[in-house]
């Protein structure tokens, strides 16, 4: 029972974490425009900073999109480097407004090679105001560093509970400066984060980009819902597995109690001769079964929660998961209640057996 409840608890938590993380990381963006490739990859790399980008797009072309009448706001981002696996994002200051981020200390960048770091970045790397660091080429730490041009930390952000906590923000110029050899005079960005003026553009604008340009426009909500549907199926399989384990535990509890009663039927008959009523023995056996069930299911929840807490700890290191509120408690309580109600019904079987026991026959047969 402990194993079953633990698995189902972890499954609920992971499901909750996944949904919550994806939801919190997207501050109402309608589309992301980037290089052609997998739209899901574009969303994951540009908003959730999990996957690698599909490529780069021309900044000239991006500026045309920014000026398009259907666009309310457009924020360019440029990826390419990291510091200790924290991604360095070249962008403009609208990015901070997008996530409603406030500075905990320092200021925002005002010239190239100045950086504002997220809460977790500061916590893990121990970077702080006026400290310098050098970025590594690529999105994971490979050791290929830009030693000649260090960044200076000018600001540290407050915790936002979003992916922003795990990012290092700088101006687009910083990224372009570091990669001027690769650019060969052509400025490029990774993607544009868009909000439409009118939601109806969600149908026409992507078609315009996808058919009329060498770029693609992807919808974060559409791509993430597709992803959640896929992971949801995996969660369902895990849930069925845990339900099967819980079912086995019910059968285990039932047979343990029946076996226990069978071994103690003589003692139970003696208790009746001493004055214990059938009802009292019924309640004793029921209590025994329910104690097993309540303790088992509670320990399952505790173990599941410990795994949740461990994930929380490792998420700071792993950066890709940010845990939020305990919204899942209702679901867990519902499962705990359901398990114990079924356990109660299961326990009634041996209890009824005890209730119907014939004392004299039992004592004679002993």
């Amino acid at each position: 029972m402990i194993v079953g409840i633990t698995i189902i608890t972890v499954s609920i938590l992971v499901n909750q974490i996944t949904k919550e993380t994806f939801s919190k990381n997207n501050p109402g963006l309608d589309a992301v425009v980037g290089a052609k490739g997998s739209p899901l990859q574009l969303i994951l790399s540009s908003i959730h900073h999990i996957d690698i980008p599909t490529g780069n797009i021309s900044y000239q072309n991006a500026k045309k999109i920014i000026k398009h009448p259907a666009i309310k706001s457009a924020i360019p981002i440029s990826l390419g480097d990291n510091f200790q696996n924290f991604r360095i994002v070249g962008t403009n200051k609208s990015f901070l407004k997008l996530y409603k981020a406030n500075l905990n200390s320092g200021t925002s960048w005002s010239k190239p090679m100045q950086a504002v770091i997220g809460h977790n970045v500061s916590k893990v790397t121990k970077l702080n105001i006026n400290k310098f660091f050098v970025g590594s080429h690529g999105l994971i730490d490979t050791g290929d560093i830009h030693a000649e041009q260090p960044y200076k930390v000018v600001g540290v952000l407050n915790k936002t509970g979003t992916i922003l906590d795990n990012l290092i923000l700088t101006s687009l110029d910083s990224v372009w400066n570091l990669h001027s050899d690769e650019n060969k005079g052509k400025l490029e960005i990774t993607s544009l984060l868009l909000k439409y003026k009118n939601k109806t553009s969600a149908f026409s604008f992507p078609r315009l980009i996808n058919k009329g340009t060498n770029m693609q426009a992807a919808s974060p909500s559409f791509e993430i819902s597709k992803l959640l549907k896929l992971t949801g199926n995996a969660h369902k399989i895990v849930d069925y597995l845990s339900m099967f384990i819980i079912l086995l535990s019910f059968i285990g509890v039932l047979f343990t109690l029946l076996n226990n009663i069978n071994e103690r039927k003589y003692d139970l008959a003696i208790l009746r001769t001493l004055g214990f009523s059938r009802l009292k023995l019924f309640s004793i056996i029921l209590s025994e079964g329910m104690i097993i069930s309540i303790v088992g299911s509670t320990f399952g929840l505790i173990f599941g929660y410990l795994i949740y807490e461990s994930t929380h700890y490792f998420s700071i290191v792993g950066r890709s998961i940010e845990l939020g509120q305990l919204n899942f408690l209702n679901d867990l309580f519902l499962i705990w209640m359901t398990v114990n109600i079924i356990a109660f019904i299961t326990c009634l079987i041996p209890c009824i057996k005890v209730y119907k026991q014939n004392i004299r026959t039992t004592l004679l047969n002993s």
């Binding site: 003692d267 009746r272 001769t273 001493l274 004055g275 059938r278 002993s366």
Partner: protein, 213 residues
């Protein structure tokens, strides 16, 4: 007052005994005797509310036992009757003290002083923490007798309490039953075919079961 009216019991359509009538006044002792197989133990089970008779009624102080619901019979038995079974019916996995405690617990009596006095009187005070499985036959019988008196019942029923004991232990048990019955002012109903018991306890009434048939 304890009255049995026309008690009969059938097994598989065969009559084991019929029309047994008893009228036992308070603090009077009854001996039920007879050869093996005449239904002495079955009669004791009927008198204690453990086995419903085929016919007849059993009345304790105006309470018709088998007119009570089964839970009420259990409660009545715990509070008013003490039973010493032929095979002791002790809980072997429990200690001496626990066997007395559970009996007291059945009737809601939580006083521990009583157990120590009782254990002292039966000579098992120094074995109170020993498991029943490790006691001798004589010690088990003494404990079984002590347990029957835990609730200070009005009626005590003993089924062959001395038949498996040597003379010395039979004497101890008979004296114990006599003393405890007298202390509790209980009526004693004793079933036996052990002739030694009649020399040890003076019964006011005797029912010879084989002769009734």
């Amino acid at each position: 007052m304890f009255i049995c009216e026309d008690i009969s019991f059938d097994i598989d359509g065969q009559k084991l005994f019929t029309n047994i009538n008893l009228n036992l006044k308070p603090q009077k002792d009854l001996l039920i005797t007879g050869p093996s197989g005449v239904g002495k133990t079955t009669l004791l089970s009927i008198l204690c509310g453990l086995q419903k008779p085929t016919n007849g009624s059993i009345i304790y102080n105006d309470i018709d036992l088998y007119n009570l619901a089964e839970n009420e019979i259990d409660n009545f038995r715990g509070k008013n009757l003490g039973i010493v079974f032929q095979n002791f019916n002790l809980i072997n996995s429990f200690t001496v003290k626990q066997n007395l405690e559970i009996a007291a617990n059945a009737i809601g009596n939580k006083s521990s002083d009583q157990y120590f006095n009782l254990l002292d009187r039966i000579g098992l005070a120094d074995k109170s923490h020993i498991k029943v499985a490790n006691l001798s036959i004589g010690e088990k019988q003494r404990l079984a007798v002590a347990r029957a008196f835990v609730g200070e019942p009005q009626w005590i029923f003993c089924d062959e309490p001395t038949s498996s004991l040597d003379d010395k232990n039979a004497n101890i048990i008979a004296n114990l039953i006599k003393e405890e019955s007298s202390r509790c002012e209980a009526s004693l109903v004793l079933i036996t075919h052990d002739s030694r018991i009649q020399t040890l306890i003076n019964f006011s009434e005797i029912l010879r079961l084989g002769e009734e048939l």
